[in-house]
C-alpha cells in the first residue's frame, strides 16, 4: 500500500467538510472517488497532497521517492505566458531536476504533445492543458498520482486518450492513481476500486463494477425486435429509437436478459446499466 489515510477530518468554521474519511491506495491500482458537488472530494485531495492541513486523522505515504505524490487539482494550473516546454522546464527547475532539452521533449511526446509548439499554453485546448498538467504531475517520478476531475472540459476523444494514458501509467509503470470524476461511466471503465463520498463521509467502497451495479436501478437495452418483445411488454419499459429503458421491478436484470435472449425475433446487442445517483450516494446500511 502506498497511500493510507485514516479518519481524516476537516472543518471550516462550523462546517464539517470531512467527517472521518479513510481511504487507501496500492501501487499500480486505479482508485476512483465519486461524489456530488460539495461532497468533500477536492478538500480530501488537497489534504492528501499537503496543500490543506487536516484537523484530525492520520496520513501515511509509504514511499522513498523525493516526490511521493503528484497531482492535478481541478483544472491544470499552468503558466499561460510560457510554452509547454518552458512550463516543464520551470516545474523541473524548482524541484532541482536537471533535465536536458531532449528529456523535456521526450516528456512532451509521452503525453502526446508536440515539442515543436512554441506558443504560450494559454492558446492550448483543455485536452492539451490536461496532458501537460499530467506531464508536470509525473515529473520526478512520483509513485502515486492524484487527479481531480481530469476529464472535465474534454471532448470524447480527449477523454479516451487520457483514460488510455492513465491505464498505461498504472499498468506499465506501477503508479497508484487516485482519480475523481462526476462521470460514472468514465470511472466505471477505468477504476479497479471505487470510493463514494457524500457529505464528507465515505458511504460506499469496493470494486468499481460492483458498486455501480449495486446502484443501477434501470438499464438501456439495445437490439432489434425489442418493440414486439413479450418479455419487455410485461416489464416496466420506455421505448426509444433502437433501444428501451428498462426500470427494474422484482426480476433481476440477469433473469430478464436470459428470457430476452431466448425470445424469438429479439437480438440483443448491448445492455448499459443506468446508475441511480440517489441510490449510489446513499449511505450503505451498517
Amino acid at each position: 500500500m502506498i497511500l493510507d489515510a485514516r479518519d481524516v477530518r476537516k472543518s471550516y468554521g462550523s462546517l464539517e467538510v470531512l467527517k472521518g474519511v479513510s481511504l487507501s491506495l496500492s501501487s499500480g491500482e486505479i482508485c476512483g472517488l465519486i461524489g456530488p458537488n460539495g461532497a468533500g472530494k477536492s478538500t480530501l485531495f488537497r489534504i492528501l497532497l499537503g496543500l490543506v492541513s487536516r484537523d484530525a486523522g492520520t496520513l501515511e505515504i509509504h514511499s522513498g521517492a523525493s516526490k511521493p505524490l503528484g497531482g492535478i487539482i481541478e483544472k491544470p494550473a499552468l503558466y499561460g505566458y510560457l510554452s509547454a516546454f518552458e512550463n516543464l522546464l520551470v516545474f523541473s527547475r524548482i524541484q532541482g531536476l536537471k533535465q536536458s532539452g531532449t528529456d523535456i521533449e521526450s516528456q512532451l511526446l509521452q503525453v502526446g504533445l508536440s515539442p515543436n509548439r512554441k506558443d504560450p499554453v494559454r492558446n492550448f485546448s483543455m485536452g492539451m492543458k490536461q496532458r501537460l498538467g499530467l506531464a508536470i504531475a509525473l515529473l520526478n517520478e512520483p509513485e502515486c498520482v492524484i487527479l481531480d476531475e481530469p476529464f472535465s472540459g474534454l471532448d470524447p476523444m480527449g477523454i479516451r486518450t487520457l483514460q488510455d494514458e492513465i491505464r498505461g501509467l498504472a499498468k506499465a509503470r506501477g503508479i497508484g492513481i487516485l482519480i475523481s470524476s462526476h462521470n460514472l461511466v468514465e470511472l466505471g471503465d477505468l477504476c479497479d476500486r471505487l470510493y463514494v463520498i457524500n457529505q464528507g463521509e465515505i458511504v460506499r467502497e469496493g470494486p468499481a463494477r460492483e458498486i455501480l451495479q449495486q446502484a443501477a436501478r434501470s438499464y438501456i437495452i439495445y437490439g432489434t425486435g425489442l418493440e414486439s418483445s413479450a418479455v419487455l411488454a410485461a416489464a416496466h419499459v420506455e421505448h426509444r429509437t433502437g433501444s428501451v429503458l428498462l426500470h427494474l421491478g422484482e426480476d433481476s436484470i440477469h433473469a430478464i436478459l436470459r428470457r430476452l435472449s431466448t425470445e424469438p425475433g429479439v437480438i440483443l446487442t448491448a445492455c448499459v446499466p443506468q446508475t441511480n445517483l440517489a441510490a449510489l450516494f446513499e449511505k450503505t446500511p451498517e
Binding site: R46, L51, S66, G70, K75, A77, L78, V90, I94, Q95
Partner: protein
C-alpha cells in the same frame, strides 16, 4: 533555493507586465523632463530673480542636476506605486492562475517558495532602480547639461555640479532602501489579500497613508525615530547643507528592520495558511 530564485526571475522577465513597468518608468521620466523643460525655466526665473542680483551662479540652473533631483522626487509616490502594483502581481497572478498550488504540488517547501518571491521582488526592484538611475543621469546630462543644483529644503541650498552629482547618487542609494521596503510590503500584502485588485487598493492606501503620516510630528524623539512612515524620507536629508549621516544611518537601519519584520510576517502567514 537558488533554483527557485532563478525560476522566479525567469518568470518575471517572460511576462509582458514587467516590460510595461519598465516602460512606465521611462514614460514617467520623460514626463518629468518635458514638464521641467517647459515650466522649470519660468519657475526658476521668478524664484531666483532677486538672488541673481546678489549671487553669481555657474551655468544654467535648469540643468541636468535639477532634472535628476526632480526625477528623484518621484520616489515619494510615483515609483513606489508602479513598484507596488507590479511586485504584488508576482504573487497575486500566481494565486489567480492557481500556479501557487501547482508549485506546491512539487517537492518545494512553502517557506523556500515565498522567500524566493521576496528575493526576486528585491532583485526586480534593484533592476528597475538601476534602469531609472542610469537613464536619468544619462538623459538629463545629455539633454540639459551639467551645472549647479538649487534645492529648497528649509531654505534654498546651492551645490556645485560635482557636489550635486555626489549628493544625488547618495540620495538615490538611500532612497532605494525605501523602494525595497515598499517591494517587501507589496509581497506581504499579496500574501494577506491574495486577490490582485484588493491588494492594489490596499497597497495604494498604504502608500498614501505613509506619505501623509510622514508629516506627523510626535513629541517624543524616540517615537519619531521608530515610526515607520518617518523613515521613508532619509534620501531628502542628503540635501541638507551638512549631511546628517548618523541620522540617515539610524533611519536606514530601522527601516531595514521593518522590512525584515514585514517579510517575516508574510512568510509566517504564507506557511500557516492552507492553499485552497
Amino acid at each position: 533555493m537558488r533554483n527557485l530564485i532563478r525560476t522566479e526571475l525567469f518568470k518575471i522577465f517572460r511576462q509582458r507586465k514587467t516590460y510595461y513597468a519598465i516602460a512606465a518608468v521611462f514614460v514617467l521620466e520623460a514626463f518629468i523632463m518635458v514638464s521641467a523643460y517647459f515650466q522649470g525655466r519660468e519657475f526658476l526665473d521668478v524664484f531666483l530673480e532677486n538672488l541673481r542680483e546678489s549671487f553669481e551662479f555657474q551655468g544654467n540652473l535648469l540643468n541636468g542636476n535639477l532634472i535628476i533631483y526632480l526625477v528623484l522626487n518621484s520616489f515619494w509616490f510615483h515609483i513606489p506605486l508602479i513598484l507596488m502594483i507590479v511586485v504584488s502581481g508576482f504573487l497575486t497572478t500566481e494565486y489567480k492562475d492557481r500556479t501557487v498550488e501547482a508549485v506546491l504540488l512539487q517537492p518545494v517547501s512553502k517557506r523556500n517558495y515565498i522567500i524566493s518571491k521576496y528575493i526576486a521582488a528585491l532583485v526586480f526592484t534593484a533592476f528597475i532602480l538601476g534602469i531609472l538611475i542610469i537613464s536619468t543621469f544619462l538623459l538629463s546630462y545629455l539633454f540639459f547639461g551639467q551645472g549647479d543644483l538649487v534645492v529648497f529644503l528649509e531654505g534654498l541650498s546651492f551645490y556645485s555640479a560635482t557636489e550635486a552629482f555626489n549628493r544625488l547618487m547618495i540620495a538615490f542609494l538611500v532612497g532605494s532602501l525605501t523602494m525595497f521596503f515598499y517591494a517587501v510590503v507589496s509581497i506581504t500584502l499579496a500574501v494577506l489579500f491574495q486577490e490582485a485588485t484588493v491588494t492594489w487598493i490596499v497597497a495604494a492606501l498604504f502608500l498614501i497613508g505613509t506619505t501623509l503620516l510622514l508629516r506627523l510630528e510626535f513629541d517624543s524623539e524616540w517615537v519619531n525615530s521608530l515610526f515607520f512612515p518617518k523613515l521613508t524620507d532619509s534620501w531628502q536629508y542628503v540635501f541638507f547643507s551638512e549631511i546628517p549621516y548618523r541620522t540617515i544611518l539610524n533611519k536606514s537601519l530601522v527601516l531595514i528592520g521593518y522590512t525584515g519584520l514585514i517579510a517575516w510576517i508574510g512568510i509566517r502567514v504564507f506557511q500557516k495558511r492552507d492553499i485552497t
